[in-house]
Symmetry: C2
Subunit: 258 residues, 2 copies
């Protein structure tokens, strides 16, 4: 199978760098083809702007969505964007690996999403009607592909527990897992999260590679998170609220997992 | 009073641009001093890296936190970072204004947070002991200052309602409001969120400026979100989980609001 690792850490000799190298080797040893988008090494342009189209802005003002749509349709996107989209088409599974900085992905990775996720490619796809609100949340260009996060954080696991002060890790990652990955159609596997990375000794590192290795071995068999598809009956359209008989006692992020 | 607006939109002739200009005028008319960090106009460098210290990395490898701490302590930070920190010291209230892109701030604004929030300035502040886990979440360098988000989104309000498919807006914004603003000590006001910005006619624009104007007039009197301070008894230290008698039925983000 084909695996794309999108990786964001500025220092190759970091824990993240070591784990990225480990993952590449483990996947290759299992017979998979691997590509890595090492965003810092690529000097990835983080800020979405009018230069993302080879033609510049189309009208007298830059309109992020419309200009993205036009550049995508006309094959006039900046080459770095088109190249990443090609990797996504090629991939059977996409891994996003990053340190959790201020409770989200590093800016350089956010900019990868914003620029590569063109209108017509990752959003604005499919029919919009009273029964179908676009191919998204379970449908879309990435349908049939898998995705998984590998995340490191300095905080303790208890700080990210259900009553921990940072908020539960599943909720912190929901805008990424549901909003960025499930949205264009990925099946999202449970994340692999490493806590308290300031205190990693040899024994702990061995445990991490053991766990991560197992997760990589199981990449194509692990059950994805059971996010609810948008257009399969659970949601009213166009309000896009859960129907009354679906998880009636729940609200918030958790209600969107079956 | 002194108000800093940190603003991220690539197009001055956008709704965001118009509202930023409106806010500046409204605040000035009320007698406040206003500075704007217009991140796109400043060509703000989004990616945190070793060049954020004038001395480059300190050791044989770049360590984001430690190198940030050293550069901050020694007055060797990149000048763009030091300048933004000075604006934060000057401000009584900070407004972050941005379009919600993929359920978070634009990459360029995330990079403002990552780079300006130096170790020793916005985190790694204060004593760490069994009774006090750093000056954070209600304490810290920004204590006594207020902060507020102004957010635009293309989606409908119902999509961001308690059972809406995107998740509740308060939960989507929690990592920003609690994790980025409350963490270094800001009192965080309720956000001002504008939905469905693809459909703004003159009447709706008038309504928005009416509402936003009122919010700006009330900037120094509105009650902040009642996030729970970390070191005032609600949390066990160092686990940083809510004590059993605090909101015993709750978990998740909502449990951290009194």
């Amino acid at each position: 199978m084909n695996v794309l690792i999108v990786y964001a850490h500025p220092e190759p000799k970091s824990l993240n760098g070591a784990l990225k190298d480990f993952a590449v080797k483990r996947l290759q040893a299992a017979g998979h083809a691997v590509q890595v988008s090492d965003l810092y090494a690529m000097n990835w342009k983080a800020a979405l702007d009018e230069n993302d189209s080879l033609d510049g802005k189309a009208g007298d003002r830059f309109e992020p969505s419309l200009d993205s749509k036009r550049a995508y349709q006309n094959g006039r996107q900046s080459e770095d964007i088109a190249r990443e989209q090609e990797k996504l088409r090629w991939a059977d599974t996409v891994i996003l690996q990053f340190p959790l900085w201020w409770f989200s992905v590093p800016a350089i990775m956010k900019g990868w999403v914003e620029r590569v996720y063109a209108y017509g490619f990752a959003y604005g796809v499919g029919e919009h009607s009273d029964k179908h609100w676009g191919d998204r949340y379970g449908q879309g260009s990435m349908a049939g592909k898998r995705a998984m996060l590998i995340v490191t954080t300095g905080g303790w696991e208890s700080h990210y527990s259900p009553r921990g002060i940072n908020g539960p890790i599943d909720d912190i990652l929901f805008p990424i897992q549901h909003g960025i990955l499930y949205y264009p159609g990925f099946d999202v596997l449970p994340p692999y999260v490493i806590y308290r990375i300031g205190r990693i000794d040899m024994a702990r590192y061995a445990q991490i590679t053991e766990e991560l290795g197992q997760r990589l071995d199981d990449l194509f068999t692990t059950s994805p998170i059971a996010f609810r598809p948008q257009n399969a009956g659970a949601y009213s359209i166009p309000a896009l609220t859960l129907k009354d008989d679906i998880a009636p006692a729940l609200s918030g992020f958790a209600a969107h997992v079956a």
